[in-house]
């Protein structure tokens, strides 16, 4: 295929500039010819002109080979090796984060937020139709000094998705009670407040809306 303007210059520079338009011998801009065809807009010229049709055949031929190449690709169904390798690294990572007090103000036992959150989420997940999302825990009291960790009750905020019809406020309350029980029985952490935010509601059809929050 004859071209008026053979590619010149380093490819990257040419890519980002509008200069270097390639014109077919009929005068049409090759990039435009291709683009219009892709967008389903050809005109009588591009359909009949030998240069344009040749250019379009070339592009079509390229796309055909791409389709063939796609067919040859193996199915990537099994990500087990990938998962293993990724999780091996992830599980060794440490993350900075606050620790929360276990026990009373006299005790010197602490638990990292991620571990307590995990327990709270599992508790919420155990309720039918409830799925837990974000769970944050923070001391209610301000620190007594710059280097001291804070003892005292904590505030828990958990986001949940409720999959049910019925009273959402009641569902939120059930979550709250479950968390309070978990705090006492599974952890031993003093909880001052539980904020349950219902971030999504699913009916059995799977369509959702976003309601507000219940304290």
């Amino acid at each position: 295929m004859a071209m008026n303007n053979p590619s010149a210059g380093p490819p990257d520079d040419m890519d980002d500039r509008e200069g270097g338009k390639e014109r077919l011998p009929c005068g049409r801009d090759l990039a435009q010819v291709w683009q219009q065809w892709e967008e389903g807009q050809t005109d009588s010229h591009s359909r009949s002109c030998p240069h344009c049709t040749a250019a379009l055949e070339d592009l079509d031929g390229l796309k055909h080979v791409v389709r063939q190449a796609r067919e040859e690709e193996p199915e990537y169904e099994d990500a087990n090796v990938l998962v293993e390798r990724v999780m091996d690294v992830v599980q060794l990572e440490l993350r900075p984060g606050r620790t929360l007090p276990l026990g009373t103000t006299e005790d010197d036992d602490w638990i990292v937020e991620a571990a307590a959150a995990k327990a709270f989420r599992a508790a919420a997940d155990s309720l039918p139709g409830v799925r837990a999302g974000s769970c944050r825990i923070a001391p209610l009291n301000a620190p007594s000094g710059p280097r001291r960790r804070v003892r005292g009750p904590v505030a828990v905020r958990i986001e949940v998705v409720i999959d049910m019809t019925g009273d959402l406020q009641e569902a939120a309350e059930r979550v709250r009670q479950r968390l309070l029980v978990t705090a006492q029985r599974a952890l031993g952490i003093e909880v001052g407040s539980v904020d349950v935010a219902i971030v999504d509601v699913l009916d059995s059809g799977g369509h959702g809306e976003r309601p507000g929050r219940w304290r």
């Binding site: 590619s7 040419m14 796609r70 067919e71 690709e73």
Partner: protein, 195 residues
């Protein structure tokens, strides 16, 4: 399996996206099991993307693995203005782009993905011609710059709209169109020569 991996952000009607949002929130707070589910769910598609970009399955596995580990570390800063899938797509794309850049100058013609055993019901002659065409394409892709290659694969193989390509790679839409055009130009030229 969707036709392409790109999911427009904010598509809240898809149940799996909302599930991803839940898992992402948990993972960003240190929930490893949630993250494992995300890896399992998005891994296959990202492996396919990386293999298309790099032309090598084993390199693709490294790229995707490192991308996920990087994502884990950056999750606490992940904001919900895109989905986890789109975010990972962008991370993998850019990691592959950097790997391609580090490869230059390209030496070997090893940029051919390992061919699967062809079990198509076509005549041997046609199958051979098809295979030969694919190989010719792989060889032709060697001449593309990393930037051209990435943009072209995203456009032609993954079917991304130009706006998405621009967003993924961090360039203007115009630049994305330009790179795809230049890539097509070189590839059509090479394929014509092959024929």
């Amino acid at each position: 399996m969707p036709a392409h991996g790109y999911e427009p952000p904010g598509d809240a009607d898809d149940g799996e996206h909302r599930d991803d949002a839940l898992l992402t929130a948990r993972a960003s707070e240190g929930d490893e099991e949630a993250f494992e589910t995300l890896v399992r769910r998005h891994g296959p598609l990202l492996l396919r993307l990386a293999t298309r970009l790099l032309g090598s399955r084993s390199e693709a596995e490294d790229a995707v693995q490192e991308s996920f580990v990087s994502a884990w570390r950056r999750l606490p800063e992940f904001r919900e203005n895109s989905t986890f899938g789109t975010w990972m797509y962008r991370i993998v794309t850019n990691r592959c782009l950097n790997m391609l850049r580090a490869r230059r100058p390209v030496v070997a013609l090893d940029a051919v993905s390992e061919p699967a055993a062809a079990e198509h019901q076509v005549s041997p002659a046609r199958a051979a011609e098809g295979r030969a065409a694919v190989e010719a394409l792989s060889k032709a892709m060697v001449v593309l710059s990393p930037e051209q290659r990435v943009c072209w694969v995203l456009r032609e193989v993954d079917g991304l709209p130009y706006e998405a390509i621009a967003d993924m790679v961090g360039i203007s839409q115009e630049a994305a169109r330009g790179r795809v055009f230049r890539a097509r130009r070189q590839l059509t030229e090479a394929m014509v020569a092959w024929r």
